[in-house]
Assembly symmetry: C2
């Protein structure tokens, strides 16, 4: 049984510290929204849906100090990380509750909404898993990047949700997890999650992906997403774009598993997605081990954008969008509104 | 001034311990061939030409215990690392001296041959640098992988030799060095070498290469080689093949800088090149920092093979072979014999 990504206890938010997994399982106690914001910035919690959930609880936590504090929390939390749109989507939901809730019910309503965002995300991921497993059936050799798993979401995972369902339905799934430098979400989180669930997983360095594809060890690449533009371009953990190019070269389907909350219809293309650049010491220092001195310059973009034409399908909780483009995405989302 | 990769002093071989660079500059004292073999296996010294040089000195060192010891050294050193052909090429040269030298001149002759292999390699690299810089002129944004530099060779470097000459001739060279997991030769060695020589260098994680190419930060990719098959397929540090695919996708020239001693005309294609698989703990443990537990399975191939059709040119000390194939390589090598 995997640990919960966040726990609410006695008016504190406890955040599973993912920087220490798998060598240590521990929670970070957050007593105010500032500590929640800091935990998101430092990537103690990460993954697009997970940071939305943590931020939602941060707003609820702030309301213990009153409505104004919650308003400040909305502003502070929105400045933690720029790329994943789920953060802003979750804060928008919290803001609506904040604006419409009466003073005496404010904390109760905000906490209920955060709980709702959390629980709803698990159901969404199980639906993504179902659609994805149907799409991928007949293939059992899967490559994934970063961690789009239970730890990146409310639970079950997006890309790893598809892998979990595939394993439940057909068994014999074999996963190659790219280690995902610099923060190593693939080697530390994905491998641990899958291994805990009894799924066959092998970690490789990111630069081995091309060789592993050439050796025919991969029948599908499945990744998550931090933001999907209206034309189907996808921002995700840096390295995703390279994998999409390599998958295309090796004629391997490249699949993005992503809830509808990750779509940002205000952006025409992926060029408009803000890409976070993080501290170079993430590259220079690994754990407590300094690899290179400060005077060596590094470039540390946290995300890249994969153009829609390299994506075979986007798997959502409401079904798949094949060879995504503006027209197909618009039609797909309109059909949902009619439901 | 960069430190020498090996120093002969008072009948001991001192090997620059590249595992500790750049945080510490220290030499490993080898008093016998077994210690030289171990240093090569543990990658205290690495790089195709450099391990050939170290092995040559290992044979000379062994001859202090007589001819039989040198014969055993040839056998032991040939089992250190399988992929780089320069090792076997250097040992073949030492074996010829061993077979033809008289007993009382044996040590002197073997040491002279090792010195010759060492010094000759620097001249070869300067010639490679000249041919490469002529080829690449007009381009100043270069990406490289691993370390094909002074530290990987007798001095000056192959791929980094081209970069050095380009900088000497035209200035303004800007290098992106892929960090090269798991052993981090790019972030630790290449960045340090270039920074010491005043060349602008930025380290990126391997999975950022595609993004950096897409951003138009790269006008040529230049790498070294561990073995070139007779059809032009190239074995080099794992990750090279992926970079070649990415360069092709982004229409960026992909260049291999390699001395003629790296060609193995006994092999028809790259499929015949033995690929070393190394200990998984190279991935699991970084420095003294354990990232993932032993129970997580890893795959750790040290090299991959780039097919000739992805290579724009191979730069040798005698000139360039454009769009290499069996015919062109055979013609090129025959023309040299006529010289």
């Amino acid at each position: 049984m995997l640990p919960e990504i966040v726990k609410w206890d006695n008016n504190n938010l406890f955040i599973l510290d993912q920087r220490k997994i798998p060598m240590e399982i521990s929670y970070l106690k957050c007593s105010n929204y500032q500590e929640v914001a800091s935990a998101i910035e430092k990537m103690a919690i990460r993954g697009a849906p997970a940071i939305g959930i943590a931020a939602a609880y941060g707003v609820a936590l702030a309301s213990l100090q009153g409505r104004d504090s919650s308003k400040k929390a909305l502003e502070r939390l929105s400045r933690t990380r720029p790329t994943a749109v789920n953060l802003f989507w979750a804060l928008d939901r919290m803001e609506k509750v904040l604006d419409h809730s009466e003073e005496m019910c404010l904390f109760r309503d905000l906490l209920a909404e955060a709980d709702h965002i959390y629980k709803e995300d698990i159901e969404i991921n199980m639906a993504i898993g179902q659609h994805g497993a149907t799409l991928v059936q007949g293939r059992s050799l899967i490559m994934t990047h970063c961690n789009a798993g239970a730890l990146a979401t409310g639970g079950y995972g997006t890309a790893l949700g598809v892998i979990r369902k595939l394993q439940e339905d057909h068994g014999n799934v074999k996963v190659y997890a790219c280690e995902t430098r610099p923060v190593l979400q693939g080697s530390r989180l994905t491998s641990w999650e899958l291994q805990q669930d009894g799924i066959d997983v092998t970690v490789i360095c990111d630069n081995m992906a091309a060789l592993v594809m050439k050796l025919n060890y991969v029948e599908a690449v499945i990744v998550g997403a931090d933001r999907v533009a209206s034309n189907g371009d996808v921002a995700n953990k840096v390295g995703t774009y390279g994998l999409a190019v390599l998958a295309s070269f090796h004629k391997i389907p490249f699949l993005v598993a992503s809830p509808i909350s990750t779509f940002d219809m205000t952006l025409e293309t992926g060029r408009d997605i803000p890409i976070e650049e993080r501290d170079g010491n993430e590259i220079r220092i690994i754990g407590h081990n300094r690899v290179i001195p400060d005077l060596i310059r590094v470039y540390n973009p946290a995300f890249d954008v994969t153009p829609a034409h390299l994506i075979s399908a986007i798997i959502t909780e409401k079904g798949c969008i094949f060879k995504p483009d503006s027209g197909k995405i618009s039609t797909f989302l309109k059909s949902l509104k009619k439901e």
